[in-house]
């Protein structure tokens, strides 16, 4: 029986399911950049004995995002940042009901965090009801470009609308580096209740490195830091991230390779009789609606090729015909032809 995966990227379980080694899995389910940065670090020589000092790490990452270090807190990955922020917002409203508005479909950890920290949840369907009113004082979650589809939204009119409703807003920009668009960091000065989430590992191709950032006003970040331990980031991870920030040719290489793969994948999908709809994407993944075959059935047909895709049935507003496919090297996308053009 096919196991249902709650999230993409669990190649260990998938390898067991199809009886192959980890190396043999073609993982099109997780959105990690397949292009890798060129780094010049010997990880065997990193001094892991002392307590880490994060000063240069904070400075380098803040510079990269164009904010002050006081406007940024680092976390052990984007998901860790999400859970900390949800806990923090809950703490500020202790004992009061707090409404969380999620523009769906969206990364599943948002709904989980909202439920776990006992928010009153409000889902807005991005595809069919973008203009729906948000409640006064909501905690608004918006992923831009969106997951699992990759659409990029003009955030300015939305920010204005939310601000008029006294909302606290989190813009998740985990995939923005894959698009040509600029970050919402330019709005931080204007909107004091704006938080921006950055992933430091999806674009730089290393989900095993756990580092993400929340950007906001210095005041908001100072309050958030109150709840954080003195040390949490690995010396290895700190070394990796600081090294990739030095790779000046990476952006160009990443863009070219992802564009080539996107073109290839879209051409392949457009001609397939199994595809009902391809969602516009500016990110490194493509969401499709299937016809005549469910996502689960598609996965069953792909498993002999050791190809893993993301069944999107468990996303709000999506159903059992929705599948997300990540951009990877052309040779990893080629096996899709065997199923989509069988």
């Amino acid at each position: 029986m096919m196991q249902t995966f709650q999230h993409g990227g669990d190649i260990t379980t998938f390898a067991k399911t199809c009886g192959c080694s980890l190396d043999e899995v073609i993982d099109l389910s997780s959105n990690i950049n397949f292009v890798k940065p060129h780094i010049d670090v010997d990880f065997n020589t990193i001094d892991i004995a002392p307590y880490p000092n994060y000063d240069s790490l904070y400075q380098n990452i803040a510079d990269h995002y164009g904010v002050l270090t006081e406007q940024m807190e680092l976390f052990n990955g984007g998901s860790a940042g999400i859970f900390s922020l949800f806990a923090h917002m809950r703490g500020r409203h202790m004992g009061l009901p707090l409404r969380c508005t999620i523009y769906a479909p969206a990364y599943l950890e948002y709904k989980k965090a909202a439920n776990r920290f006992e928010y009153e949840l409000h889902i807005i369907d991005r595809f069919n009801a973008m203009d729906e009113e948000v409640a006064q004082g909501s905690f608004v979650i918006f992923v831009n470009p969106a997951t699992p589809d990759g659409a990029f939204y003009d955030i300015q009119p939305l920010l204005k609308k939310w601000h008029n409703r006294n909302c606290t807003v989190l813009i998740d920009e985990s995939f923005i580096e894959f698009t040509p668009h600029t970050s919402a960091t330019g709005y931080l000065a204007q909107y004091p209740n704006l938080f921006i989430l950055k992933s430091l590992t999806k674009y730089w191709g290393a989900a095993g490195i756990r580092m993400g950032a929340l950007l906001s006003s210095a005041q908001n970040i100072a309050a958030l830091r109150q709840r954080e331990p003195l040390w949490k980031l690995s010396a290895f991870d700190a070394a990796y991230i600081q090294a990739v920030l030095q790779d000046e040719s990476f952006a160009k290489r990443s863009e070219a390779a992802n564009q080539e793969s996107r073109d290839y994948l879209l051409a392949l999908l457009k001609k397939s009789p199994l595809i009902k709809r391809i969602y516009p994407s500016e990110a490194n993944f493509v969401l499709v609606e299937l016809q005549g075959i469910t996502a689960e059935e598609l996965q069953e047909r792909l498993t002999p090729y050791r190809v893993m895709v993301r069944n999107c049935e468990n996303f709000d507003t999506l159903g059992k015909y929705h599948v997300r496919i990540a951009l990877k090297e052309l040779k990893k996308l080629q096996p899709l032809k065997e199923v989509f053009h069988a």
Copy 2:
């Protein structure tokens, strides 16, 4: 002017203060084991691209501590575990006052967490009032062996007393591997409100690796996990910890070398006119009360030798004459003679 350090181990700031390189600092302020495990890992070959799967990591660490994986949650270091547990306990008592009883002196992050998460704080002086009553339903914090002195307490009668007062108890065993004593894990079955904190990096000599564990009943751990993100631990750190658990000669080497250094340091201190009192320690550090010289003055005299010790003035119940000195290689302890026997 001598900068006051809130915590030990900030060698970066200290190196700036005394105008030397990081390598030249003799750090006797942080309690990281100076004995290092023998590991056989090439960190340059670790596949950091995929999302980490923590199954084997959890299994190996749980086996090491003699608990089930369901009884353990891993965190990015002991401090991260402390902050998560304080937030979690606060969440369970949302809107209600919650009393936290800390047996002091103790690791400073406990008091900070209690304040930040708005607990009603109760300090019990371990040295002068161990028998003081704890409030009904308190969240009790006890470090064993204790910091900053290293005393080991028979925990059984204390657990019984706290249990009779319906307390939730956290025993911090970050330094227990330096002692010959057994862990309180044996009491987990008997006391459903018992949590045990384990540090995975102090004993194994790597504060740059961020990993700690909370052990408790499967039910408590399941509740705690609700507030935790899916991924937070670095693939590098996971590889390091699993490797050190394989080093079967480490315990013996660590014990011998620390014993030699302890004997040397105690002999040196006992004969010094600057020492009023040496606190009994079973851990890898020694707390002393000075006479005729304050901790700050002692640090000033040690700075030319690039030696950094831990001024314990900011610990509850201790004062400006208290200093903690970590066990290190004999050659790093030798410069102490220049000051203690000047």
